[in-house]
Symmetry: C2
């Protein structure tokens, strides 16, 4: 059985079809989410408690994680995992610290001083999905840049399990990042609570984090009206650029790590080759072999069904396919260092790039230090992944001296009059005492 | 007659009411815009031409501005205005050039190299409103940072007048910025054309620029699905912080320049004073006097009706009001340099700050060099104004050597196993030849 749909030298409509994402109809989700958000906005805490019971399946005396639960988590997480989390946190901290901008300052003309003042976003809300796996890595990826930006309030919402508990690794990761405010609530109602505020959860200024279709839809809906959001989110995806010299075993492992994310994940290959079929057969063989070792193999096989391979002639064509698809994760592994660098150099659209044979996506997902919250679904054309930039604002400031306004004033006056905005002109005129 | 609604020491609900924006019901606009966007998406050029005829009121052989029209514009713009535009463009260029980031690069561990690659957004679309005034200044504010970022394609859409022409100052400003692709089309259909692409207008990756309610609604709708947008937009606003020592004449001129923007603009004052009424009366007198000199005085008086003044005890309270309102434009003019600086220092939420008596908003609107595309409606809590940042993406790149993966691999493996993502762990394992 072949997993990958093969495209030979796709251009035009074929390239478009190669680049198409797996999409699901979202109309009924949108309506349900709208109802949930309206209820939270209108009824606040009461609605939050009701949905918590209905969707999270628990009734809790307090949504907030207490000190004892944090203490308990410390005893439940193995030392190995603690060490790993600490190493990952250190790398993420190191790389993201470099991103903190100082703001520029310049005197553009005599007496006309301009600068940008860097200010953290005050209140941020981080959503950490529950579901099948405890995504403590996402805690690190969102809380560390928030901490570096010096956001005053950092809160986490994450759904509890049926016993009303949060996975200890999530609590441990939060503690490593000095985040102490965690609410046991998930789903669209959690997004609504952060966007509008309820008695227990204070309104935040910006919401971050991945989630299922309900969470994503809720973020989209609040994002255009109530509260900023990090990124338009969608199913995860990887694109691997390879040649006949690339290890099919490595590529298969990368495709499978994408496939295990979910049934709508996409694992894509671009193969630069003029004799592709043997290599593709080896890749298929590796996929079959490796998938057997995975406990959730059936699930992974299902999600691999949407995977595709494009065979292209040369590096130039490969770059075209990469930029047309705009992958969230791009692994460039042509088994030739110079070739990898050329493709990287000309890549315009990607969330994060993994260069060379020893840079699997999973290093960036966890511990290299780059952020794993990245644009999906082609948004890499216009949007960057989460960074410290996502947690700050840059306020421009200008200060003119009397001399500065004397010099620049006539320019402003002329332009304002030409735009037929005479009060704008007048604000300069009264200051220059040249009252009309 | 008094223009300003007075609030004395507003806190709690009163402060909330002081900070409330003028809002208009948008439901019918949303439906109309949805229909227009669907038609553009489905029918492309045909729908674009139809709406162009219906809304812009003209039928044009070509939507695109030709070389002759650019040449004609050069002869129609006065030398004075050309000089003013050139000076403004130079200042905007100087300040925005400082904003171009180089990307950071670091080796976080031996053999684990990370950096951010700065890439311009390839295709950007700039919307320039038509309407009562020719907003050529907005051309400079959007096209100059796009040019500095090196966006490959910069197109402008702007509605023509009844003769099918574009104001010459808009064409001249575009030429100064080296933008040669201008389409004579305005409204929601122009946004749809840039978001989805039609025969004449190619799809862009991000849309920038202000507009009326239809344009704004269209940007919001495409922004969550088809195409990135610059900012959530809304009516313009200014907040002036003053004391009894501040010139009421200056403040009145600033409020009026805001009021002339439109009927839903807001002009707000925060007065630090324990004896406010005399100063407020002087301000009212100045407003009455200055408004008489304006040709559109009736219109301005109407829009001043939504204006408010908050009287507070001290600088601390003033800062609280400023941060609660989160103004697009903040003029800090307490007639005391040190006091101005303190308020600036503690300002967390504002689009752009104008410091001191000689920095009216109009200098930033036109020519000081800061950008005038700024967050309104309280979005300054979480969003920055347009800058070169808005036209670039930062792609993270990581390259691990074999040694690097040897060092970091076990950390990644431990975390992946703990998140129950065994294929992620396997992608490291196969590379380290430690096949399970």
């Amino acid at each position: 059985m072949a997993y990958l749909q093969r495209f030979y030298d796709p251009t035009g409509k074929e390239l478009k079809s190669f680049c198409a994402r797996n999409t699901l109809d979202g109309a009924s989700v949108a309506t349900q989410v709208q109802d949930i958000l309206s209820a939270i906005k209108k009824e606040g805490e009461k609605a939050l408690q009701r949905y918590s019971k209905e969707f999270d399946g628990v009734t809790l005396a307090s949504l907030k994680v207490g000190a004892q639960e944090f203490a308990e988590a410390r005893t439940l997480v193995s030392d190995d995992l603690k060490d790993a989390i600490n190493i990952a946190a250190a790398n993420i901290h190191t790389f993201h610290s470099e991103q903190l901008s100082q703001g520029e300052s310049i005197e553009v003309m005599e007496g006309v001083s301009l600068w940008r003042k860097i200010v953290p976003i005050k209140r941020v809300g981080l959503y950490i999905p529950g579901g099948s796996a405890p995504l403590f890595s996402t805690v690190l990826m969102l809380a560390i840049p928030a901490q570096i930006a010096r956001c005053e309030s950092i809160v986490i919402c994450t759904p509890p399990n049926k016993e009303g508990k949060i996975h200890p690794a999530i609590l441990y990761a939060a503690e490593v990042c000095n985040v102490k405010t965690i609410f046991k609530v998930g789903g669209a109602h959690a997004i609504g609570a952060m966007a509008y505020g309820t008695r227990s959860i204070k309104k935040v200024d910006k919401i971050f984090g991945p989630g299922n279709r309900f969470v994503t839809e809720a973020k989209t809906q609040v994002g255009s009206s109530a509260c900023a959001i990090d990124l338009p989110a969608g199913p995860s995806e990887v694109m691997v650029v390879a040649t006949n010299a690339t290890s099919p075993r490595f590529v298969a492992s990368d495709l499978l790590s994408q496939a295990e994310h979910g049934p709508d994940s996409q694992a894509m290959v671009v193969l630069i080759s003029n004799d592709p079929d043997g290599w593709i057969d080896s890749l298929e063989a590796q996929l079959s072999a490796q998938v057997k070792d995975l406990s959730r193999s059936e699930y992974v096989e299902h999600s691999l069904a949407g995977s595709k391979i494009a065979v292209v002639w040369d590096h130039h064509d490969a770059i075209n396919v990469v930029n047309a698809y705009a992958p969230e994760h791009l692994i460039i592994n042509t088994a030739d260092e110079r070739g990898d660098e050329i493709i990287m150099f000309f890549t315009e659209n990607a969330g994060s790039i993994f260069l060379g044979p020893y840079s699997p996506e999973s290093v960036g997902d966890y511990a290299s230090g780059t952020n794993h919250t990245l644009p999906t679904g082609g948004w890499a054309r216009s949007v960057s992944g989460v960074s410290v930039d996502s947690f700050i604002k840059k306020i421009t400031v200008q200060k003119l001296s009397e001399e500065g306004l004397n010099i620049l004033g006539p320019t402003v006056h002329t332009m304002a009059v030409a735009e037929e905005l005479e009060a704008h002109a007048n604000a300069v005129a009264v200051r220059l005492e040249k009252k009309r």
